[in-house]
Symmetry: C2
Subunit: 391 residues, 2 copies
């Protein structure tokens, strides 16, 4: 068994989603995450719906297995505790507006001078540099400003938000990458680094295809509904009982698809290349649906899958949560209470490592300040027992 980060202590000052998502991944990889929260209130998402028996399932989904201590970083006594925690931390994470940590005396420069191996991870709406660095942002602000909304939605209609909070989550994932890269360097003898992640930057990093098109043609792509903008057929189709997806990404797959549908179109000049199929996409869709409307989606998915054509259903989240492949991959875990009784379902760890046990349950998310005594006792033992630990 190898829990890659089992020697790592993360001091996590982040709240809401992007930062806690990163520390959730670090915890899944074996790190000990100590969540430092505001006294009295704690992480905003403790008050986010949905609730079960008074507890936020939203908060539990992201914060399971972390420890919580409530500290007022402007109060002398709590600062003393925080200072002791800093001596034990390998990573500190924060998502305040730029400047807040400096005013508290815990900015990157100050911490780096005192703790040269500490990795400092910051995530904010617009990053710690640039003209808009002090502006507030939420997920939707960066989805809109960052261009992802402009290519999401139905053709010739208003853009829509991506249903998942990718404004936050992509930033959290890049934060996790930066922290892992910096930790790798530290383990090789290098000093710690600051990781400065902007939610807006992270949106641009998702736009590969759209940036290439805009860069070469000068024209920005627009929403294309349920269709890939430059591969055909790669979209949803109506069966007799609803929609399903066909993704025939090259000529060979298109020929296979035509055979499976009994449609003699593979050598038709209007559909013989991807470019030709893109130019005649509406006609091709009608021709395919002329066939697929005869049978239910499950019939076509089964038939096309046997033929080797990428296809599949459009599943609701409830259906995804019953999907045999998802269950076989342990991608739905039980978040339990203190007694080990399952309370909520949450997504499992998608980073499957051969030597990392892939547990089927998660401990509960902490109550605010739940681990204060335990953490203080641990710090006390370090202070009295083995001064070597207090680097």
């Amino acid at each position: 068994m190898i829990r890659p980060l089992s020697n790592i202590v993360v001091l996590d000052l982040t709240h809401v989603l992007a930062g806690p998502y990163a520390s959730m991944t670090l915890r899944d990889l074996g790190a000990r995450v100590i969540k430092v929260e505001r006294p009295g209130h704690g992480d905003d998402t403790r008050a986010f719906p949905p609730f079960k028996d008074g507890d936020s399932a939203y908060f539990a989904t992201i914060n399971h297995g972390k420890e919580s201590i409530a500290l007022d970083l402007r109060a002398e006594e709590d600062r003393g505790i925080f200072e002791q925690l800093l001596t034990q931390a390998d990573v500190i994470l924060e998502n305040f507006r730029p400047g807040v940590m400096e005013r508290l005396g815990y900015g990157w420069e100050a911490l780096h001078a005192r703790f040269p191996k500490l990795v400092y991870g910051a995530v904010s709406g617009f990053g710690h540099t640039g003209p808009d660095r002090l502006r507030p942002a939420y997920d939707m602000v960066v989805q809109a400003r960052g261009g992802v909304m402009s290519i999401t939605g139905e053709h010739d209609r208003e853009p829509v938000r991506v249903g998942a909070s990718i404004g936050d989550i992509a930033a959290g994932m890049f934060l996790c990458q930066g922290v892992l890269a910096a930790l790798y360097a530290v383990r090789g003898g290098a000093p710690g680094q600051k990781v400065d992640i902007a939610m807006l930057d992270s949106q641009l990093a998702l736009l590969e295809h759209a940036v290439a098109i805009t860069s070469v043609t000068g024209e920005a792509p627009r929403p294309s509904g349920a269709r890939h903008p430059s591969i055909t057929p790669f979209e949803t189709f109506h069966a007799s009982d609803g929609l399903f997806v066909i993704a025939a990404g090259n000529d060979t797959l298109f020929a296979t698809l035509c055979t499976a549908l009994d449609l003699p179109l593979a050598t038709d000049a209007r559909f013989a290349s991807n470019q030709a199929r893109c130019e005649n996409a509406r006609l091709l869709k009608r021709l395919i649906e002329a066939v697929t409307l005869d049978q239910p989606a499950s019939y076509w998915i089964d038939r096309l899958q046997r033929a080797g054509v990428p296809t599949g259903p459009i599943q609701s989240v409830a259906e995804v949560m019953r999907d045999p492949q998802i269950l076989a991959r342990n991608m739905l875990v039980d978040v339990c209470d203190q007694e080990g009784t399952p309370r909520f379902k949450a997504a499992g760890n998608p980073v499957k490592l051969s030597a990392l046990p892939d547990k089927t349950t998660r401990p509960p998310a902490p109550i605010l300040d739940e681990h204060r005594t335990q953490i203080l006792n641990w710090l006390g033992e370090i202070a009295s027992g083995s001064p070597d630990n207090a680097t």
Copy 2:
């Protein structure tokens, strides 16, 4: 200067998007990436539009700065070269269907026995376990089956695809995380691990809120257009000249918004809490738009930003590529030709590390097999010169 992965050699057998996206990030973090391609054809995306002077800007966007060697892994001579490359590699990446590497003699078990420190990263549609592991998948298949499409689109209309290829890219990002975590463990003395990433798993990992809602209420959320499903107001609004976004995520921000719009609604019982605002979201939207329709979006964005309310434009990708904050963050880089002349724009590296130089240009993507001679010379030097290197 610290390039965290400057000692790392990545042997990259992946093609299209998910795998190459992961190796692009590893290269941005300092790794040397040797792209092993099929002779004659190479990576499929070399033939993907858009093109500039015959070269795919799509391919260049993802593969800049990598080296290319064309190897037929079923041909004896090429296998000999591959074997030599394996002795130098820290990481191998592949995105074949499960079983292909085993049939070539390079499956995880075989490689791990011979190269115990090698990190093996695999990305596939459904992962290397479970009933559907052998099925083919493309981005759209997992966006649909994984639930993200079911919550993306207009209210009461058909779901749409996320405009960005998050089916591939999220998987590539998790692959990168897994490789970094495994490398960290190897640097601490642990053996290498296999990283097994499924595109379908990765979609579930983006669904935090939707999984929590479905788990607690039993009802799966549906598309909610440009609105957050459980925060109000957190959506697009019409100004006199088009749409913009307001994201007032809590009561304080809502009160600030009301003041900035001269709308006396902050203490109105129908809007006094987030829950009340969600219940009366349509009425609230009409009341806000009654005011915002009077002035252009830029007026309201400026006014709300001054007041501290998260807000912003919905930008096209062309507008994003001119955004001063994006440019100040070096989030658009020039992919150059061999002479250093800029040819395409690509997204910059969102993982900003304080000691990692954030270059404004990228070298070109390789021509197929471009680095064969150079790589063979390097292997020859290792074989003749310093046998210590050939571990």
